[in-house]
Amino acid sequence: MSPGKSNTPIVARAGIGLRAPHIDLVLASHPAAAWFEVHAENHMTDRPGDITPAFRALWSVRQDYPVSLHGVGLSLGGAEPLDDDHLARLKDLVLRIEPFAVSEHLAWCGAGGAFLNDLLPLPYTDEALCTVVRHVDAVQTALGRRLLVENPSAYLAFADPGMAEADFLAELVARSGCGLLCDLNNSHVSAHNLGGDARAWLRRLPAAAIGEIHLAGFVREDADGDSVLIDTHSTAVDGAVWDLYAEALSLFGPCPTLIEWDADIPDFRVLQDEAARADAIAAPFAAANDDVRAA
């Protein structure tokens, strides 16, 4: 099977994270959406070429929409070797779905054979940088294409934190040739939790490497009087993150932008409304880009 439609040209519009509760709706009614992103792990098959119901559903979605594959299990920052079987499954999915983007996280997911289903933080040391560069290089070589690497949400601080996150990402881009998935909710959450400045972080990123933006919601918790933001993807995008989005667009220009909502998933219409809001914020920047091109 190969997708019946070629890659629709990807305009810098807002897409929607497609999760299980909405897949049947999308297949049945073809609602308006610029593109969809799915978690690659939910649609991988044991063997190359297998057609499982989950694969078939994604393949069917792909007939009508551009698709981005977002991995949550490669553990790019893991000190242990990459899981070759998992990489092979990702490669098979990429070859068959022909996504316009493939992304993963600047994080590690477990140790000693245990996959903890969390995106755990790295100290931004030279050792960690070498590890991530090696793994990103291996993934890009296997897939034969550029990978977008996403900045994480952080809650923990390290005694030896290493370099600033934005510098680590810039160095990763320079050494591996990868692109960046700029998650603005994560940057807001991390800046709040660890005492940083998300705007300064944005300005230090290599603008030319930004291939996608993520927008999502968080919840606020109090831990012994200490306010902590938890990256739950369970609420609407926060006002502060919308402000960051406008700032990011002024720095990077229009960019494929995703509305991510993974828990307490609302009606599809709510996701469409969030995407429309992102498009409205991006419209002036797209127009400005057109003016530059026309000049």
């Binding site: 119901p53 553990s75 477990g110 903890l116 289903n117």
Partner: protein, 258 residues
């Protein structure tokens, strides 16, 4: 200096065991531990994996209640965390865990209900494969029929239990938890669970029907499987049903396999 493997091993152990660093205990090398912050990761691991298990074992959840299930799941997650990043598949080992889990011994049927749910999940997740074309089988000479070895469809699973696990599974699945069940006389479980046109379907089998299918699924030849079903077994009718239910995707002839 290689600090990253040690840091990750120490942090993973703390998160996996689900305990905060007690005050005064030396934190993992290199980590500025704020216990409440470490708890964020511990809680995410536990709640996200528990949610996966809840969705895979909905009948078990209904039968033992949410609180007991969360308690058992936490112990299971600490003892047997996922190895595969495809976490939606996590939980294959839960039935065996429940069989060993002391607090669950009050529910002796629970591991087998979980095994039924494992089978139903495997059926729903199995690759889509066409059943074998009966014309291909019809072309096999009669004298070779006993040597047929079938490739069993992973979207057709067999589950047996000496306990009435299937009755409990159905009661939970259909939301009839107030049903009075005569456990002593409810009988054993022999189920065929398979992918049907409108979803996963489960059907009770007689002892001979089950024995025949279990032998075929286990790789026995048609002749051996028919013998294992015992005297008075209607081979033609059973074979027709096996094929009609899409349980077979291919065949070889015993002795001719490469």
């Amino acid at each position: 200096m290689s600090a990253l493997p040690d840091l990750q091993a120490a942090l993973a152990a703390q998160i996996r065991l689900g305990i905060a660093t007690p005050e005064g205990v030396v934190p993992p090398a290199g980590l500025l531990v704020v216990p409440q912050r470490l708890l964020i990761h511990q809680r995410h691991v536990r709640t996200s994996l528990t949610a996966v298990l809840r969705s895979r074992f909905p009948a078990v959840v209904k039968l033992v209640g949410d609180g007991f299930f969360a308690f058992a799941a936490a112990q299971f997650i600490a003892a047997s965390p996922p190895a595969d990043p495809r976490v939606a598949r996590y939980g294959d080992a839960l039935p065996d865990f429940l069989a060993r889990f002391g607090p669950a011994h009050a529910y002796p049927w629970l591991p087998d209900v979980a095994r039924i749910e494992n089978a139903a999940f495997a059926v729903a997740d199995a690759p889509l494969q066409d059943p074998i074309d009966p014309a291909r089988l019809a072309a096999i000479p009669t004298e070779q029929a006993a040597d047929l070895v079938f490739l069993w469809n992973p979207a057709a699973q067999l589950v047996s239990s000496n306990l009435p696990a299937a009755v409990l599974w159905r009661v939970a699945r259909e939301g009839r938890l107030d049903t009075q069940i005569d456990m002593a006389n409810a009988g054993p479980t022999r189920l065929l669970i398979r992918r049907a046109a409108d979803g996963v379907e489960a059907r009770d089998l007689s002892p001979v029907e089950f024995a025949f299918r279990a032998a075929l699924a286990g790789g026995s030849s048609l002749g051996v499987a028919a013998e294992s079903a015992g005297d008075g077994f209607d081979l033609a009718a059973n074979l027709a049903t096996v094929l009609a239910e899409g349980c077979v995707t291919d065949f070889t002839l015993e002795g001719t396999r490469s």
